[in-house]
Symmetry: C2
Subunit: 363 residues, 2 copies
């Protein structure tokens, strides 16, 4: 029977070996093509733009549409993400600034978007993330901009106002929060620690299940998990990665108040992206008048049939305007409808800053 | 000219798209084959052994031997490492225990051997790494066993004596140490922090370049880098990963005393590995006599033409033997020469423990 087993396994393994030989050949042919792209661009004096967000988005979307399985769409998308990352780094390894430390959702977002071959450059504040790219130390920045339950990340919005960087991509990350603790009973939890935003995302759950237990905000969820791992009675709210890394059992899983809790990150660089077929355009706009004039101001978009996917108002930090509005619309700034709406908006608005056009998140 | 550029790029991109379609098809066919392997093994009642170290080593060696470039051998090996990791995790995601925290060489070794799809389970001590696998919480352990300049990791050797786990693999990691510091001049460095072993690996360099500056050992190189990032005048000795992660400039690079500084890690599980064609066998042996009897004791290996790649002696911790010897030989315990030498050794030695046979490190 062992012989039969070996024979059957041998057949499948020969098949795997043949597949591997083809895979190896294809990977290298792909890398050669990527080199050829770099060579052609160099010849036409376009060498600075080897990384093309719109092209990568198109490749990944096609992979998802044509994936027959059994590998999951997530798995193959990740895989091609990594293939492109490796091919790109043959010529130009990218440095990515993000809000550290490691083990945070921002790191996950950076790797999800740029792959393993990118150099991760964790920073200690959102301001530093912007500065690192503006100063040319890093090529791209990844910053959180909004959470589906908690709303906008104020510091990012403020930095967008003054930066010379352009938005060239977005990453949407599904966030699950867990109560991590060495205790086995909620009754013995004496303290809950987490990042302020995570505490806010689980506010209702905490009110219902741990009323009266002090909530203490710390610098990051990773740091919270570290505390929970060392202090008896301390529970952390943090994600899967932190649970794994600090070997903390989940006293309660998926405790976020909104079941579809996601965080959206922006990718910023020195250029925005070309059209990919499914794009967004972000801008900041303001009028000297009160917000009542806003509907009127934005009517060129609805007139042109352009959908607005997000509108965020924020008190202005200088005296000239009372409010600034952060607007995301669907479509690329080169699309005829978006382009004509932008021209009209420019004529009407007291202040308009185009933050960039970029592919909608792929996965 | 822009049209010509677009036309040339279009041609290459169509080629890339065709390659990607083939890659996607092959990856899924490979995953189906891996499922078939699991199904066959299940049918023959051999379901527990889906991870086969010897088979993975063979696949990766063949990839290296046949890689035509331009992708580096390291890059394609990593890639196939990841493909196998993804295929395996379709059926059985592996949990890997190692000495944390993150950002250490042990994490690098675990990922180098098991790929991205494995679950990383950092532990706070070498003892905990062993215990976590013995208790079945993790599937495999990755522990450092020797450094090319500093020698054996005593705690690992001691744990090998008592464990029921088997060695099923090894990982060799090239280690470069850098002096990381926010200062721009050696003269302003007031303190050097690092893991004790890293301080030892740079002993000569420190004597020459920072005589009289206090050296303080901390729990890990990652922790040292964190200190250097926050305290003026403090320099850390740590690797590339820590420099990147804490954004610390290298005040001096590659300061290790031995230019070929490598650390070797062992992979331990509940079974050792089958023959892969290039294997090692590790064992512990002892005699009641003094070490003078050692050459005699080990002669069966030389008689059988089996090379010894390592011999480490260590004072025994119980009274029965004065020394125990850690021996690595080339070849698998099923190879005729090794098998016959082991039989003779067993007859002569006061104590013999076979730690396992496993593929020699692939990359």
């Amino acid at each position: 029977m062992n012989d039969d087993l070996q024979k059957e396994l041998g057949t499948v393994r020969s098949e795997i070996d043949a597949i591997d030989a083809d895979l190896l050949d294809l990977l290298n042919r792909r890398a050669k093509c990527a080199q050829k792209v770099g060579e052609i661009k160099g010849r036409y004096g376009d060498a600075g733009h080897i990384y093309r967000p719109e092209r990568e988005a198109q490749v990944l979307r096609r992979i998802q549409e044509t994936n027959p399985g059994p590998l999951s769409n997530e798995s193959v998308t990740w895989f091609f993400r990594e293939v492109m990352s490796a091919c790109l780094s043959l010529e130009q390894p990218l440095g990515i600034a993000f809000l550290g430390p490691l083990g945070t959702f921002s790191e996950q977002a950076a790797v999800k978007h740029f792959g393993h071959a990118a150099r991760l450059l964790p920073q200690s504040s959102i301001d530093d993330v912007f500065r690192d790219v503006e100063a040319g130390h890093a090529d791209y920045a990844v910053v959180p901009v909004e959470n589906s339950t908690e709303g906008a990340v104020g510091r990012t919005l403020d930095m967008l106002l003054g930066t010379s960087l352009k938005i060239c991509g977005e990453v949407v990350l599904r966030i699950h929060q867990h109560l991590l603790c060495k205790e086995t009973d909620l009754a013995t939890v004496t303290k809950v620690v987490s990042h302020a935003q995570s505490l806010a995302q689980c506010h209702e759950w905490l009110n219902r299940n741990l009323p009266g237990v002090p909530r203490i905000s710390v610098g990051s969820n990773a740091q919270a998990a570290q505390l929970a791992a060392s202090e008896p009675g301390t529970a952390a709210i943090a994600g899967e990665a932190a649970a794994d890394r600090y070997q903390l059992p989940k006293l309660a899983a998926n405790i976020e108040d909104e079941p579809n809790n996601t965080t959206r990150f922006l990718v910023l660089g020195r250029h925005d992206a070309g059209p990919s077929g499914r794009d967004k355009t972000s801008l900041i706009v303001s009028t000297p008048n009160r917000s009542g004039a806003l509907a009127d101001l934005l009517s060129p978009f609805s007139d042109a049939g352009v959908s607005m996917s997000r509108l965020e108002s924020r008190p202005a930090r200088h005296a000239l305007w009372e409010y600034v509005f952060y607007v995301d619309v669907e479509g690329h700034r080169d699309d005829p409808g978006v382009a004509s709406a932008l021209r009209q908006l420019e004529a009407r608005a007291g202040y308009l800053k185009l933050l960039g056009s970029y592919p909608a998140a792929v996965y």
